[in-house]
Protein backbone atom coordinates (compact mmCIF):
# COMPACT_ATOMS: atom_id res chain seq x y z
CA UNK A 1 0.00 0.00 0.00
CA UNK A 2 1.06 3.59 -0.52
CA UNK A 3 2.61 5.21 2.50
CA UNK A 4 2.36 8.94 3.25
CA UNK A 5 5.12 11.18 2.00
CA UNK A 6 8.25 11.28 4.10
CA UNK A 7 8.23 14.62 5.83
CA UNK A 8 10.56 14.10 8.74
CA UNK A 9 14.32 14.13 8.62
CA UNK A 10 15.46 12.64 11.89
CA UNK A 11 13.84 9.26 12.35
CA UNK A 12 15.57 6.04 11.25
CA UNK A 13 13.58 5.52 8.07
CA UNK A 14 16.03 2.87 6.89
CA UNK A 15 14.68 0.54 9.55
CA UNK A 16 11.06 0.81 8.43
CA UNK A 17 9.81 -2.52 7.12
CA UNK A 18 13.28 -4.04 7.45
CA UNK A 19 12.19 -6.51 10.17
CA UNK A 20 9.12 -8.66 10.47
CA UNK A 21 7.17 -10.71 12.96
CA UNK A 22 7.05 -14.17 11.45
CA UNK A 23 5.79 -16.37 14.26
CA UNK A 24 3.32 -16.06 17.12
CA UNK A 25 2.27 -18.65 19.66
CA UNK A 26 0.59 -19.07 23.00
CA UNK A 27 -0.76 -21.58 25.47
CA UNK A 28 -4.38 -21.93 26.53
CA UNK A 29 -5.59 -19.10 28.80
CA UNK A 30 -6.50 -20.71 32.13
CA UNK A 31 -6.84 -20.02 35.81
CA UNK A 32 -4.89 -23.04 36.97
CA UNK A 33 -2.43 -24.09 34.27
CA UNK A 34 -1.20 -27.03 36.33
CA UNK A 35 2.29 -26.58 34.86
CA UNK A 36 5.38 -24.47 35.58
CA UNK A 37 6.25 -21.18 33.93
CA UNK A 38 9.13 -23.07 32.31
CA UNK A 39 6.65 -25.44 30.71
CA UNK A 40 4.35 -22.57 29.69
CA UNK A 41 7.26 -20.71 28.10
CA UNK A 42 8.53 -23.80 26.35
CA UNK A 43 5.15 -24.50 24.80
CA UNK A 44 4.63 -20.89 23.72
CA UNK A 45 8.09 -20.58 22.14
CA UNK A 46 7.70 -23.94 20.43
CA UNK A 47 4.32 -22.89 19.04
CA UNK A 48 5.65 -19.55 17.78
CA UNK A 49 8.64 -21.13 16.04
CA UNK A 50 6.40 -23.73 14.44
CA UNK A 51 3.97 -21.00 13.37
CA UNK A 52 6.85 -19.29 11.59
CA UNK A 53 7.73 -22.48 9.75
CA UNK A 54 11.16 -22.43 11.36
CA UNK A 55 13.11 -24.98 13.39
CA UNK A 56 14.36 -24.19 16.91
CA UNK A 57 17.90 -24.16 15.54
CA UNK A 58 16.91 -21.29 13.21
CA UNK A 59 16.39 -19.07 16.27
CA UNK A 60 19.55 -17.69 17.88
CA UNK A 61 18.32 -14.86 20.09
CA UNK A 62 15.99 -14.90 23.10
CA UNK A 63 14.44 -12.09 25.11
CA UNK A 64 11.94 -12.29 27.93
CA UNK A 65 10.45 -10.09 30.61
CA UNK A 66 9.21 -10.83 34.08
CA UNK A 67 9.01 -9.48 37.59
CA UNK A 68 10.42 -12.34 39.60
CA UNK A 69 7.52 -14.52 38.55
CA UNK A 70 8.88 -16.55 35.66
CA UNK A 71 11.61 -18.70 34.20
CA UNK A 72 14.69 -17.60 32.25
CA UNK A 73 15.61 -17.81 28.59
CA UNK A 74 18.37 -20.34 29.18
CA UNK A 75 15.89 -22.95 30.41
CA UNK A 76 13.57 -22.55 27.44
CA UNK A 77 16.53 -22.62 25.09
CA UNK A 78 17.77 -25.80 26.71
CA UNK A 79 14.36 -27.45 26.54
CA UNK A 80 14.04 -26.76 22.82
CA UNK A 81 17.62 -27.25 21.67
CA UNK A 82 18.16 -23.58 20.87
CA UNK A 83 21.79 -22.40 21.09
CA UNK A 84 21.42 -18.66 21.68
CA UNK A 85 23.97 -16.25 20.29
CA UNK A 86 22.30 -13.74 22.57
CA UNK A 87 19.76 -13.80 25.37
CA UNK A 88 18.51 -11.38 27.99
CA UNK A 89 15.75 -11.55 30.59
CA UNK A 90 14.60 -8.09 31.61
CA UNK A 91 12.64 -6.87 34.59
CA UNK A 92 9.19 -5.50 33.86
CA UNK A 93 5.64 -6.18 32.84
CA UNK A 94 3.37 -4.17 30.59
CA UNK A 95 5.10 -2.09 27.89
CA UNK A 96 7.86 -4.69 27.57
CA UNK A 97 6.57 -6.42 24.43
CA UNK A 98 7.00 -3.53 22.01
CA UNK A 99 10.20 -2.44 23.75
CA UNK A 100 11.78 -5.88 23.36
CA UNK A 101 10.74 -6.02 19.70
CA UNK A 102 12.66 -2.79 19.26
CA UNK A 103 15.62 -4.32 21.07
CA UNK A 104 15.44 -7.39 18.83
CA UNK A 105 15.75 -5.11 15.80
CA UNK A 106 18.79 -3.48 17.39
CA UNK A 107 20.38 -6.85 18.10
CA UNK A 108 19.97 -7.98 14.53
CA UNK A 109 21.19 -4.63 13.18
CA UNK A 110 24.28 -5.06 15.35
CA UNK A 111 24.87 -8.46 13.82
CA UNK A 112 24.54 -10.22 17.16
CA UNK A 113 21.89 -12.69 16.03
CA UNK A 114 19.54 -13.44 13.15
CA UNK A 115 16.18 -14.45 14.59
CA UNK A 116 14.92 -13.51 18.03
CA UNK A 117 12.12 -15.10 20.03
CA UNK A 118 10.49 -13.00 22.76
CA UNK A 119 8.45 -14.75 25.41
CA UNK A 120 6.40 -14.06 28.53
CA UNK A 121 5.39 -16.98 30.75
CA UNK A 122 3.33 -16.41 33.86
CA UNK A 123 1.03 -18.15 36.27
CA UNK A 124 -0.62 -14.79 36.95
CA UNK A 125 -3.54 -16.43 38.70
CA UNK A 126 -2.25 -19.62 40.27
CA UNK A 127 1.23 -18.50 41.40
CA UNK A 128 2.15 -14.80 41.55
CA UNK A 129 -1.14 -12.98 41.34
CA UNK A 130 -1.11 -9.93 39.16
CA UNK A 131 -3.68 -8.20 41.35
CA UNK A 132 -1.10 -8.14 44.14
CA UNK A 133 -2.78 -10.41 46.66
CA UNK A 134 -0.86 -13.29 48.24
CA UNK A 135 2.94 -13.17 48.34
CA UNK A 136 3.17 -9.61 47.02
CA UNK A 137 0.91 -8.24 49.77
CA UNK A 138 2.89 -10.04 52.48
CA UNK A 139 6.40 -8.86 51.44
CA UNK A 140 8.12 -6.31 53.74
CA UNK A 141 7.54 -2.64 52.90
CA UNK A 142 10.82 -0.82 52.35
CA UNK A 143 12.50 1.78 50.14
CA UNK A 144 10.15 3.58 47.78
CA UNK A 145 7.26 1.33 48.88
CA UNK A 146 7.27 3.22 52.21
CA UNK A 147 5.61 6.03 50.22
CA UNK A 148 3.16 3.70 48.52
CA UNK A 149 2.29 0.26 49.84
CA UNK A 150 2.35 1.56 53.42
CA UNK A 151 -0.78 3.51 52.48
CA UNK A 152 -2.61 0.53 51.04
CA UNK A 153 -1.55 1.85 47.64
CA UNK A 154 -0.24 -1.28 46.01
CA UNK A 155 -2.23 -2.97 43.26
CA UNK A 156 -2.12 -1.64 39.74
CA UNK A 157 -5.71 -0.42 40.06
CA UNK A 158 -4.93 1.44 43.26
CA UNK A 159 -1.74 2.93 41.81
CA UNK A 160 -3.34 4.15 38.57
CA UNK A 161 -6.64 5.39 40.00
CA UNK A 162 -5.51 8.95 40.79
CA UNK A 163 -4.81 9.33 37.05
CA UNK A 164 -8.18 7.87 36.08
CA UNK A 165 -10.05 9.98 38.62
CA UNK A 166 -8.33 13.17 37.61
CA UNK A 167 -9.22 12.52 33.95
CA UNK A 168 -12.88 12.46 34.96
CA UNK A 169 -12.38 15.69 36.89
CA UNK A 170 -10.41 17.47 34.13
CA UNK A 171 -12.60 16.41 31.19
CA UNK A 172 -15.96 15.29 32.55
CA UNK A 173 -15.38 11.70 31.43
CA UNK A 174 -18.32 9.49 32.47
CA UNK A 175 -18.20 5.98 33.98
CA UNK A 176 -20.62 4.79 31.29
CA UNK A 177 -18.31 5.96 28.50
CA UNK A 178 -15.31 4.14 29.90
CA UNK A 179 -17.41 1.03 30.62
CA UNK A 180 -17.98 0.75 26.87
CA UNK A 181 -14.37 -0.41 26.53
CA UNK A 182 -15.27 -3.58 28.45
CA UNK A 183 -18.48 -3.97 26.49
CA UNK A 184 -16.70 -3.79 23.14
CA UNK A 185 -13.81 -6.00 24.16
CA UNK A 186 -16.28 -8.56 25.49
CA UNK A 187 -18.05 -8.56 22.13
CA UNK A 188 -14.73 -9.22 20.44
CA UNK A 189 -13.89 -11.97 22.94
CA UNK A 190 -17.17 -13.71 22.22
CA UNK A 191 -15.78 -14.31 18.73
CA UNK A 192 -12.46 -15.60 20.04
CA UNK A 193 -12.51 -19.30 20.96
CA UNK A 194 -9.29 -18.79 22.98
CA UNK A 195 -10.71 -16.08 25.24
CA UNK A 196 -10.98 -16.90 28.94
CA UNK A 197 -14.18 -14.82 29.24
CA UNK A 198 -16.41 -15.09 26.16
CA UNK A 199 -19.56 -13.59 27.69
CA UNK A 200 -20.81 -10.30 26.28
CA UNK A 201 -21.44 -7.55 28.83
CA UNK A 202 -23.58 -4.41 28.81
CA UNK A 203 -22.69 -0.95 30.10
CA UNK A 204 -25.20 -1.41 32.91
CA UNK A 205 -23.56 -4.64 33.98
CA UNK A 206 -20.14 -2.94 34.09
CA UNK A 207 -21.19 0.12 36.09
CA UNK A 208 -23.31 -1.92 38.48
CA UNK A 209 -20.55 -4.43 39.23
CA UNK A 210 -18.97 -3.90 42.63
CA UNK A 211 -16.44 -1.14 43.20
CA UNK A 212 -12.85 -2.34 43.58
CA UNK A 213 -11.30 1.09 44.05
CA UNK A 214 -12.99 4.16 42.63
CA UNK A 215 -13.31 4.76 39.76
CA UNK A 216 -12.82 1.05 38.96
CA UNK A 217 -15.62 -1.47 39.08
CA UNK A 218 -14.81 -5.16 39.02
CA UNK A 219 -15.59 -5.27 35.30
CA UNK A 220 -13.28 -2.30 34.58
CA UNK A 221 -10.40 -4.57 35.62
CA UNK A 222 -8.67 -7.23 33.55
CA UNK A 223 -8.69 -10.94 34.24
CA UNK A 224 -5.80 -12.74 35.98
CA UNK A 225 -4.78 -15.81 33.99
CA UNK A 226 -1.97 -18.35 33.54
CA UNK A 227 -0.36 -18.42 30.12
CA UNK A 228 2.75 -18.36 27.97
CA UNK A 229 3.05 -16.22 24.84
CA UNK A 230 5.84 -15.84 22.27
CA UNK A 231 6.77 -13.87 19.16
CA UNK A 232 9.52 -14.51 16.59
CA UNK A 233 11.21 -11.51 14.93
CA UNK A 234 13.58 -11.74 11.99
CA UNK A 235 14.60 -9.77 8.91
CA UNK A 236 11.99 -8.94 6.28
CA UNK A 237 14.12 -10.76 3.71
CA UNK A 238 14.20 -13.92 5.75
CA UNK A 239 10.49 -13.56 6.42
CA UNK A 240 9.80 -14.30 2.75
CA UNK A 241 10.72 -17.92 3.42
CA UNK A 242 8.41 -18.24 6.42
CA UNK A 243 4.98 -19.78 6.52
CA UNK A 244 2.65 -16.79 6.65
CA UNK A 245 2.23 -13.46 4.84
CA UNK A 246 4.79 -11.05 6.20
CA UNK A 247 3.91 -8.61 8.97
CA UNK A 248 6.47 -5.82 8.81
CA UNK A 249 7.53 -3.59 11.68
CA UNK A 250 7.18 0.06 10.68
CA UNK A 251 8.36 1.71 13.87
CA UNK A 252 8.74 1.21 17.58
CA UNK A 253 9.03 3.29 20.74
CA UNK A 254 9.97 1.48 23.93
CA UNK A 255 9.44 2.32 27.59
CA UNK A 256 9.09 6.01 26.94
CA UNK A 257 8.45 8.02 30.10
CA UNK A 258 6.82 11.06 31.57
CA UNK A 259 9.08 13.33 33.64
CA UNK A 260 9.85 12.11 37.18
CA UNK A 261 9.37 8.50 36.25
CA UNK A 262 10.35 7.48 39.79
CA UNK A 263 7.08 9.04 40.96
CA UNK A 264 5.27 10.40 37.93
CA UNK A 265 2.54 12.05 39.96
CA UNK A 266 4.99 14.83 40.80
CA UNK A 267 4.58 16.13 37.26
CA UNK A 268 1.25 16.92 35.70
CA UNK A 269 -1.16 17.02 34.15
CA UNK A 270 -1.57 13.64 35.80
CA UNK A 271 -4.43 12.84 33.42
CA UNK A 272 -1.84 12.77 30.62
CA UNK A 273 0.14 9.55 30.17
CA UNK A 274 3.43 8.51 28.58
CA UNK A 275 1.86 8.24 25.11
CA UNK A 276 1.95 12.02 25.01
CA UNK A 277 5.73 11.74 24.73
CA UNK A 278 5.93 8.40 22.91
CA UNK A 279 3.81 9.57 19.98
CA UNK A 280 6.55 11.98 18.92
CA UNK A 281 8.79 8.96 18.39
CA UNK A 282 6.23 6.42 17.17
CA UNK A 283 4.64 8.33 14.29
CA UNK A 284 7.82 9.82 12.79
CA UNK A 285 9.58 6.45 13.06
CA UNK A 286 6.63 4.76 11.38
CA UNK A 287 6.00 7.39 8.72
CA UNK A 288 2.27 7.21 9.34
CA UNK A 289 -0.16 8.89 11.68
CA UNK A 290 -3.18 7.84 13.73
CA UNK A 291 -5.58 8.48 10.84
CA UNK A 292 -3.78 5.86 8.74
CA UNK A 293 -4.25 3.08 11.30
CA UNK A 294 -6.86 0.37 10.66
CA UNK A 295 -6.82 -1.34 14.05
CA UNK A 296 -5.33 -0.72 17.47
CA UNK A 297 -4.19 -2.78 20.42
CA UNK A 298 -4.44 -0.31 23.27
CA UNK A 299 -3.47 -2.01 26.53
CA UNK A 300 -6.50 -2.76 28.65
CA UNK A 301 -5.25 -3.63 32.09
CA UNK A 302 -8.25 -1.44 32.89
CA UNK A 303 -10.91 0.15 30.71
CA UNK A 304 -9.31 3.53 31.44
CA UNK A 305 -5.86 2.56 30.16
CA UNK A 306 -7.25 1.89 26.69
CA UNK A 307 -8.91 5.29 26.63
CA UNK A 308 -5.98 7.29 28.00
CA UNK A 309 -3.55 5.87 25.47
CA UNK A 310 -5.78 6.28 22.42
CA UNK A 311 -6.18 9.89 23.46
CA UNK A 312 -2.52 10.66 24.10
CA UNK A 313 -1.30 8.93 20.94
CA UNK A 314 -3.61 11.27 19.04
CA UNK A 315 -6.49 9.06 17.89
CA UNK A 316 -8.75 11.78 19.22
CA UNK A 317 -8.32 15.18 20.85
CA UNK A 318 -7.09 15.30 24.42
CA UNK A 319 -10.07 14.98 26.71
CA UNK A 320 -12.29 13.35 24.10
CA UNK A 321 -11.26 9.80 24.89
CA UNK A 322 -14.58 9.09 26.60
CA UNK A 323 -16.42 9.87 23.37
CA UNK A 324 -13.91 7.99 21.22
CA UNK A 325 -14.18 4.73 23.15
CA UNK A 326 -17.98 4.84 23.30
CA UNK A 327 -19.00 6.00 19.80
CA UNK A 328 -18.47 2.64 18.06
CA UNK A 329 -15.16 3.54 16.38
CA UNK A 330 -13.30 0.74 18.13
CA UNK A 331 -15.92 -1.98 17.72
CA UNK A 332 -15.50 -4.70 15.08
CA UNK A 333 -17.10 -3.22 11.98
CA UNK A 334 -16.24 0.29 13.19
CA UNK A 335 -13.64 2.62 11.76
CA UNK A 336 -10.74 1.36 13.89
CA UNK A 337 -11.38 -1.73 16.04
CA UNK A 338 -9.39 -2.11 19.26
CA UNK A 339 -8.26 -5.34 20.93
CA UNK A 340 -10.15 -7.65 18.62
CA UNK A 341 -9.12 -10.68 20.70
CA UNK A 342 -10.85 -9.30 23.78
CA UNK A 343 -7.54 -8.15 25.23
CA UNK A 344 -6.59 -8.32 28.88
CA UNK A 345 -10.14 -7.57 29.95
CA UNK A 346 -11.45 -10.79 28.41
CA UNK A 347 -8.97 -12.97 26.52
CA UNK A 348 -6.34 -13.22 29.24
CA UNK A 349 -3.55 -11.30 30.92
CA UNK A 350 -0.10 -11.55 29.36
CA UNK A 351 1.43 -8.13 30.14
CA UNK A 352 0.76 -7.00 26.60
CA UNK A 353 1.96 -9.78 24.39
CA UNK A 354 -1.42 -11.17 23.33
CA UNK A 355 -2.42 -7.82 21.82
CA UNK A 356 0.60 -7.89 19.52
CA UNK A 357 -0.09 -11.55 18.65
CA UNK A 358 -3.66 -10.64 17.76
CA UNK A 359 -2.66 -7.82 15.46
CA UNK A 360 -0.11 -10.05 13.69
CA UNK A 361 -2.89 -12.53 12.93
CA UNK A 362 -5.21 -9.71 11.86
CA UNK A 363 -2.62 -8.33 9.43
CA UNK A 364 -2.17 -11.85 8.01
CA UNK A 365 -5.96 -11.76 7.52
CA UNK A 366 -6.04 -14.93 9.54
CA UNK A 367 -7.74 -14.14 12.87
CA UNK A 368 -8.39 -17.49 14.56
CA UNK A 369 -12.14 -17.17 14.96
CA UNK A 370 -14.86 -19.73 14.27
CA UNK A 371 -15.15 -19.05 10.54
CA UNK A 372 -14.89 -22.21 8.40
CA UNK A 373 -11.56 -23.24 6.94
CA UNK A 374 -11.63 -23.46 3.16
CA UNK A 375 -10.00 -25.95 0.80
CA UNK A 376 -6.84 -23.81 0.70
CA UNK A 377 -6.46 -24.28 4.46
CA UNK A 378 -7.34 -20.64 5.17
CA UNK A 379 -10.30 -19.32 7.06
CA UNK A 380 -13.18 -18.09 4.93
CA UNK A 381 -14.00 -14.93 6.87
CA UNK A 382 -17.64 -13.87 6.83
CA UNK A 383 -17.20 -10.43 8.45
CA UNK A 384 -20.39 -11.17 10.34
CA UNK A 385 -19.44 -9.94 13.79
CA UNK A 386 -22.41 -11.29 15.69
CA UNK A 387 -21.72 -13.37 18.81
CA UNK A 388 -19.72 -16.48 18.05
CA UNK A 389 -18.93 -15.23 14.55
CA UNK A 390 -16.09 -13.60 12.66
CA UNK A 391 -13.56 -11.22 14.18
CA UNK A 392 -11.34 -10.53 11.19
CA UNK A 393 -11.02 -6.82 10.38
CA UNK A 394 -11.72 -6.48 6.66
CA UNK A 395 -8.74 -5.52 4.48
CA UNK A 396 -6.65 -4.25 7.38
CA UNK A 397 -3.18 -3.05 6.40
CA UNK A 398 -1.80 -1.06 9.35
CA UNK A 399 -2.01 -1.61 13.09
CA UNK A 400 -0.78 0.22 16.19
CA UNK A 401 -0.07 -1.43 19.52
CA UNK A 402 0.01 0.84 22.54
CA UNK A 403 1.65 -0.83 25.52
CA UNK A 404 1.27 0.39 29.09
CA UNK A 405 3.36 -0.16 32.21
CA UNK A 406 1.79 2.62 34.27
CA UNK A 407 0.64 6.19 33.58
CA UNK A 408 4.29 7.25 33.43
CA UNK A 409 5.71 4.57 31.11
CA UNK A 410 4.57 3.23 27.75
CA UNK A 411 5.72 1.54 24.55
CA UNK A 412 4.19 1.34 21.09
CA UNK A 413 4.64 -0.23 17.68
CA UNK A 414 3.21 0.14 14.19
CA UNK A 415 3.03 -2.95 11.96
CA UNK A 416 1.87 -3.34 8.38
CA UNK A 417 0.88 -6.17 6.15
CA UNK A 418 3.86 -6.93 3.91
Amino acid sequence: MAMPAETDTTSPKYLRDKYAIVGVGETTYTRGSGITTRALGTWAVRNAIEDAGLKPSDVDGMLSYQSGDSTFSTFIAGDLGIRPNFYMDVFGGGSSTEALIGMAIGLMEAGMCKAVVIFRAMNGFSQVRIGGTGARAAAPVSGDALHGRAYGWQSAGQMFSPTFMRHMYDYGTRPEQVATVKVIHSEHASNNPKAFYKKRFTVDEVVSSRIICKPLHLLDCCVETDNGTAIVVTSADRARDCRHPRVLIRGVVGRCNKPRTDMHYQHGPISTVAGHYARDILWPNSGVGPEDIDLTGSYDAFTFTTMLQLEDYGFCKKGEGGAYVSDGTMRLGGRRPNNTSGGHLCEGYTHGQNMVIENVRQLRHDADDSCPIGPDGKRQHTYDYREGGCRQVKNCELSANLGWANPGTGSAMVMRRG
Binding site: D144, H147, Q158, I211
Partner: protein
Protein backbone atom coordinates in the same frame (compact mmCIF):
# COMPACT_ATOMS: atom_id res chain seq x y z
CA UNK B 1 19.91 2.91 62.67
CA UNK B 2 17.74 0.41 60.86
CA UNK B 3 14.06 0.34 61.77
CA UNK B 4 11.76 -2.64 61.68
CA UNK B 5 8.16 -2.37 62.77
CA UNK B 6 4.67 -3.52 61.98
CA UNK B 7 1.95 -1.18 60.75
CA UNK B 8 -1.54 -2.39 59.87
CA UNK B 9 -0.22 -5.92 59.66
CA UNK B 10 2.58 -4.97 57.28
CA UNK B 11 6.25 -5.38 58.12
CA UNK B 12 7.96 -2.03 57.52
CA UNK B 13 11.71 -2.20 57.08
CA UNK B 14 14.12 0.73 56.69
CA UNK B 15 17.63 -0.47 56.05
CA UNK B 16 20.73 1.18 57.57
CA UNK B 17 21.83 2.10 54.07
CA UNK B 18 18.60 3.94 53.29
CA UNK B 19 19.75 7.20 54.83
CA UNK B 20 17.26 9.35 52.92
CA UNK B 21 14.24 7.45 54.21
CA UNK B 22 15.67 7.24 57.73
CA UNK B 23 16.02 11.02 57.78
CA UNK B 24 12.57 11.59 56.25
CA UNK B 25 10.75 9.39 58.76
CA UNK B 26 12.79 10.68 61.72
CA UNK B 27 11.31 14.14 61.10
CA UNK B 28 7.86 12.61 60.69
CA UNK B 29 8.33 10.88 64.06
CA UNK B 30 8.88 14.34 65.56
CA UNK B 31 5.65 15.46 63.82
CA UNK B 32 7.68 18.08 61.98
CA UNK B 33 7.43 17.40 58.24
CA UNK B 34 10.71 17.94 56.41
CA UNK B 35 11.71 17.67 52.78
CA UNK B 36 15.06 17.89 51.05
CA UNK B 37 15.89 21.31 49.64
CA UNK B 38 18.45 21.26 46.85
CA UNK B 39 21.55 23.25 47.79
CA UNK B 40 22.14 24.17 44.15
CA UNK B 41 18.74 25.13 42.67
CA UNK B 42 16.78 25.60 45.89
CA UNK B 43 13.84 23.38 44.94
CA UNK B 44 12.17 21.00 47.39
CA UNK B 45 11.45 17.43 46.36
CA UNK B 46 9.26 14.48 47.30
CA UNK B 47 9.67 11.59 47.95
CA UNK B 48 13.26 11.52 49.26
CA UNK B 49 15.90 11.06 46.57
CA UNK B 50 19.69 10.93 46.38
CA UNK B 51 20.01 13.72 43.84
CA UNK B 52 17.88 16.64 42.70
CA UNK B 53 15.32 15.71 40.00
CA UNK B 54 15.73 19.15 38.40
CA UNK B 55 19.46 19.86 38.49
CA UNK B 56 21.05 16.51 39.51
CA UNK B 57 22.93 18.07 42.42
CA UNK B 58 23.63 15.54 45.17
CA UNK B 59 23.72 18.26 47.85
CA UNK B 60 20.63 19.04 49.87
CA UNK B 61 19.47 19.98 53.34
CA UNK B 62 16.35 18.94 55.23
CA UNK B 63 14.05 21.85 55.94
CA UNK B 64 10.71 22.07 57.70
CA UNK B 65 7.73 22.30 55.34
CA UNK B 66 4.16 23.16 56.26
CA UNK B 67 1.89 20.14 55.94
CA UNK B 68 -1.09 21.85 54.32
CA UNK B 69 -2.52 21.40 50.89
CA UNK B 70 -5.34 20.60 48.50
CA UNK B 71 -6.48 17.18 47.29
CA UNK B 72 -5.31 16.83 43.68
CA UNK B 73 -6.76 13.36 43.12
CA UNK B 74 -7.72 10.28 45.05
CA UNK B 75 -8.88 6.71 45.01
CA UNK B 76 -11.48 5.22 47.32
CA UNK B 77 -10.55 1.61 47.98
CA UNK B 78 -13.39 -0.82 48.61
CA UNK B 79 -11.48 -4.02 47.90
CA UNK B 80 -8.31 -3.96 50.02
CA UNK B 81 -5.25 -5.94 48.99
CA UNK B 82 -3.38 -5.96 52.30
CA UNK B 83 -5.41 -7.98 54.81
CA UNK B 84 -5.25 -5.45 57.67
CA UNK B 85 -6.84 -2.74 55.52
CA UNK B 86 -9.97 -4.83 55.00
CA UNK B 87 -11.56 -3.77 58.28
CA UNK B 88 -11.06 -0.12 57.27
CA UNK B 89 -12.74 -0.12 53.85
CA UNK B 90 -13.64 2.08 52.18
CA UNK B 91 -10.43 4.03 52.72
CA UNK B 92 -9.07 6.98 50.78
CA UNK B 93 -5.67 7.27 49.14
CA UNK B 94 -5.04 10.99 48.68
CA UNK B 95 -2.62 12.74 46.38
CA UNK B 96 -2.23 16.19 47.92
CA UNK B 97 -0.67 19.29 46.36
CA UNK B 98 1.30 21.02 49.12
CA UNK B 99 0.75 24.78 49.22
CA UNK B 100 4.53 25.09 49.39
CA UNK B 101 6.09 25.17 45.91
CA UNK B 102 2.76 24.55 44.11
CA UNK B 103 3.10 25.35 40.39
CA UNK B 104 6.88 25.33 40.52
CA UNK B 105 9.17 24.82 38.69
CA UNK B 106 6.46 24.52 36.01
CA UNK B 107 2.73 25.08 36.19
CA UNK B 108 2.21 21.30 36.00
CA UNK B 109 4.36 20.48 38.98
CA UNK B 110 3.71 20.34 42.70
CA UNK B 111 4.94 18.47 45.72
CA UNK B 112 2.21 15.82 45.61
CA UNK B 113 2.36 13.98 48.90
CA UNK B 114 0.58 10.65 49.31
CA UNK B 115 -1.34 9.69 52.41
CA UNK B 116 -4.57 8.21 53.63
CA UNK B 117 -7.48 10.22 54.93
CA UNK B 118 -7.32 9.71 58.69
CA UNK B 119 -8.80 11.11 61.86
CA UNK B 120 -6.51 13.57 63.67
CA UNK B 121 -5.06 10.71 65.77
CA UNK B 122 -3.86 8.93 62.62
CA UNK B 123 -6.55 6.23 62.36
CA UNK B 124 -7.99 5.49 58.91
CA UNK B 125 -11.09 7.63 58.47
CA UNK B 126 -14.60 6.24 59.06
CA UNK B 127 -17.07 6.10 56.11
CA UNK B 128 -18.91 9.34 56.95
CA UNK B 129 -15.62 11.25 56.88
CA UNK B 130 -14.54 9.53 53.66
CA UNK B 131 -17.70 10.79 51.94
CA UNK B 132 -16.84 14.42 52.73
CA UNK B 133 -13.52 14.56 50.92
CA UNK B 134 -12.79 14.89 47.21
CA UNK B 135 -10.69 16.83 44.71
CA UNK B 136 -10.33 20.36 46.02
CA UNK B 137 -10.70 19.50 49.70
CA UNK B 138 -8.32 21.32 52.03
CA UNK B 139 -6.32 18.97 54.24
CA UNK B 140 -3.62 19.16 56.87
CA UNK B 141 -0.93 16.67 57.75
CA UNK B 142 -1.20 14.43 60.79
CA UNK B 143 0.73 11.30 61.68
CA UNK B 144 0.33 7.63 62.48
CA UNK B 145 3.04 6.81 65.01
CA UNK B 146 4.52 3.40 64.23
CA UNK B 147 7.66 3.14 66.35
CA UNK B 148 10.59 5.25 67.53
CA UNK B 149 11.97 7.07 64.49
CA UNK B 150 9.04 6.14 62.27
CA UNK B 151 5.69 7.88 61.86
CA UNK B 152 3.76 7.87 58.62
CA UNK B 153 2.48 11.23 57.39
CA UNK B 154 -1.24 11.23 56.59
CA UNK B 155 -4.00 13.74 55.84
CA UNK B 156 -7.03 14.89 57.73
CA UNK B 157 -9.68 17.50 56.94
CA UNK B 158 -8.36 20.99 57.67
CA UNK B 159 -11.28 22.20 59.79
CA UNK B 160 -9.83 25.71 60.09
CA UNK B 161 -9.50 26.22 56.31
CA UNK B 162 -12.24 27.36 53.95
CA UNK B 163 -13.51 24.28 52.10
CA UNK B 164 -15.03 24.14 48.62
CA UNK B 165 -18.87 24.11 48.65
CA UNK B 166 -18.77 20.63 47.19
CA UNK B 167 -15.44 18.89 46.64
CA UNK B 168 -15.38 16.88 43.39
CA UNK B 169 -16.30 13.27 44.02
CA UNK B 170 -16.65 10.30 41.69
CA UNK B 171 -20.01 10.80 39.94
CA UNK B 172 -21.52 7.40 40.74
CA UNK B 173 -22.13 7.35 44.50
Amino acid sequence: MAIQATYLGMPLDINDLDVENLAYFKHCAAHDFHLQKCSACGLLRYPPTTACPWCASPKSEWISVEGRGTVHSYSEVHHAIQPAFRSHTPYLILLVDLDTQKGKPSEHEALRVVGNLVTPDGTLAPPDMVRKVGIGSRVRMVYADVTAGLSLPHWTIDEAAPQPDKPWRYPQE
